[in-house]
Symmetry: C2
Subunit: 362 residues, 2 copies
DNA sequence: CTGTTAGCGCCTTCAT
DNA sequence: ATGAAGGCGCTAACAG
């Protein structure tokens, strides 16, 4: 049906083996021969059959990237960064291709642990060269175990596994744990809370993400550490509301927080998107930001600086992390010490936070 | 090295063919036999070798999705929608899998026509079941021709090609043109301009995208049609600045427009992201929105409603379009009449537009 | 309903 | 430097 290696070989008057060698460039071939082969390839418009070569060589040029939701810039940015490291170079690619280009298979798990496992199996079936898991992990012992098993199998099957933006796997019994690129969510949340505290706030509400996620837990822990240090442990407990990582949760959560504590002067949102919802709710309540209530986000997605008002948040180096993960996935960079690279998040103080209004008025 | 079909067959005491039939479920197999096979699969932790079956069956479960930049929500949303149609169902997937799950290979072209061609070849090499090209096309006759050739080859090789968010291919000589899902960019831009005109604006500046893109051209054309109808054709010409589809271009472009026409009362941006840049520039100039200058975006990305102030823009049904493209790619939906489905964009009037300030003051 | 027999298209020793 | 030959793991006719 379509053109094969054999056709090219015939046209060039050489053996299939020679054509293969020319195409893969991993073996000496006479200049003249190579030229004839290349010409035949052109003339026949030959395109290698990926599956066939993957089967024969037992290698693949596919890299899986698991994300919660590719429509969310948080994941889009990381996925894009991974991709930029494994795909064709950004600069006008010259002739030589030092590293064979890999293609990224992006899998939307939608935060479902079930689908995460399904995709992992699907990727193993493709014999993916590597798999990058981004985003926070679901904390559920049975899922954690199932996940660890799948990852072990993937590695056993020859795929490199890299975690990006999620904590390292709990130390299992055996084998090398997957390389990990992670964020210091705890520290970021702590610094954010300390910033608010130092501004004079004492009534702070926290809008956490879904309860069983590592990211959620770490950020919440960071917040509580700072609150406890200020002697506000009880309030931290009372003024925490869980929701999803979306705008609607921010809106609803802010109202709930206000209900619990009308005297609130600051709200820390689980992330920037949630913070946007908080701002909307506050505005709808006729409250000004940061006049009446200060608001903070997390992640520093591109839109954070253009929000109303510009969001005080923690900047996570998503691009660097994704790129790093991509390089680790291809084995193009040495593993960090301990197999874990941690990126810290920088506090970005902008217009959505200010000292609480003094009760006196001015 | 790893477990194969033969191993499973041996363990279950049947032939490899039977195992294959059980796994693919496309052929009658006795209940008892099927059960033994499935058990063997479990015990051996067998996972099909994708490349091998792709080779033997001459089919693949990979679908390519070309995007300019997956970190941009505009593309992220479409890619996610495509993916949701070809991958595992969002609902808790039951046991039976009516349609075999496909995996999405996301390719970032970065707007480079060269990389677009490279990826198309790479996808042909994977024998992708389908390829979805999103985003505006580069308008360059040599590239258009090269692209048409690549697409023809892909289709000849059995891949279904679907264009999503870009105009249908110019009618070539032969063969069926790729199915297309497109947006009415012209109409959207026209309505946006008419909205501003009806508000009383007469000095409008237009910040266009990169010059050689179909999306850019169509939006610009829609704008000019409306301007011409209002007898402002010359101004439309004079007050158009081209830039990239990013925030920085919006910032710089707004300043340039102000330089050309200090009396400007409205700026139409190529898209929402550009509009954010425009707003930032205006604020930095001490101008209020919409008091001094009205601003409009395009696309209605999620952040548009939370911008400062909420952006008047045109809503593009990105999710519907992507989903439709995904279904067309799998042949799960009949082709629209003429092979082209056009989605119109709805005008979303929000707070960033208002009548121009009357010269008198109030 | 199940086993047998050929390949699918390519890579890779082993010779030459 | 090049050719010949076997096999990668699976599917798809054919028989039975």
């Amino acid at each position: 049906m379509s053109v094969t290696l054999a056709d090219v070989a015939a046209r060039a008057g050489v053996s299939a083996a020679t054509v293969s060698r020319v195409l893969n460039g991993n073996y000496p071939v006479a200049g003249a021969t190579r030229h004839r082969v290349l010409r035949a390839v052109e003339e026949l418009e030959y395109v290698v059959n990926g599956p066939a070569s993957a089967l024969a060589a037992a290698t693949s040029d596919l890299v899986g990237v698991l994300v919660n939701d590719i429509a969310d810039p948080f994941f889009g940015i990381m996925a894009g960064a991974v991709q930029s490291e494994i795909g064709p170079p950004a600069q006008t690619g010259g002739g030589a291709r030092p590293v064979p280009l890999k293609l990224a298979i992006v899998c939307n798990t939608g935060g479902s642990s079930e689908r995460e496992l399904t995709y992992l199996t699907l990727l193993q079936r493709q014999r993916a060269a590597a798999v990058v898991l981004t985003g926070g992990a679901v904390e559920d012992s049975s899922h954690t175990a199932a996940l660890a098993t799948r990852l072990r199998r993937l590695e056993a099957a020859g795929s490199r596994v890299v975690l990006c933006g999620r904590p390292p796997l709990a130390a299992g019994e055996e084998g090398p744990h997957p390389l990990t690129v992670t964020f210091d969510n705890r520290g970021g949340a702590r610094r954010l809370t300390e910033h608010l505290l130092s501004l004079g706030h004492r009534r702070l509400g926290y809008l956490a993400g879904p309860a069983n996620r590592t990211t959620t837990r770490h950020r919440l822990e960071g917040h509580r550490v700072a609150m406890a240090a200020a002697g506000l442990a009880d309030d931290a407990e009372r003024l925490t509301v869980h929701g999803a990582y979306d705008r609607a949760s921010g809106y609803d959560g802010a109202l709930e927080l206000l209900r619990r504590e009308p005297g609130l002067t600051a709200i820390l949102a689980a992330n920037d998107t949630v913070a946007l919802g908080v701002c909307a709710a506050l505005r709808d309540q006729g409250l000004s930001i940061p006049g009446d209530v200060s608001v903070t986000g997390f992640d520093d997605l591109p839109f954070a600086v253009d929000a109303m008002p510009a969001l005080t948040t923690v900047r996570l180096p998503l691009t660097e992390a994704g790129a790093r993960a991509g390089r680790l996935a291809l084995g193009r960079e040495d593993a960090p010490p301990g197999g874990v690279a941690t990126f810290r998040g920088d506090l970005m103080v902008r217009d959505s936070t200010a000292p609480p209004r003094t009760s006196g008025g001015a």
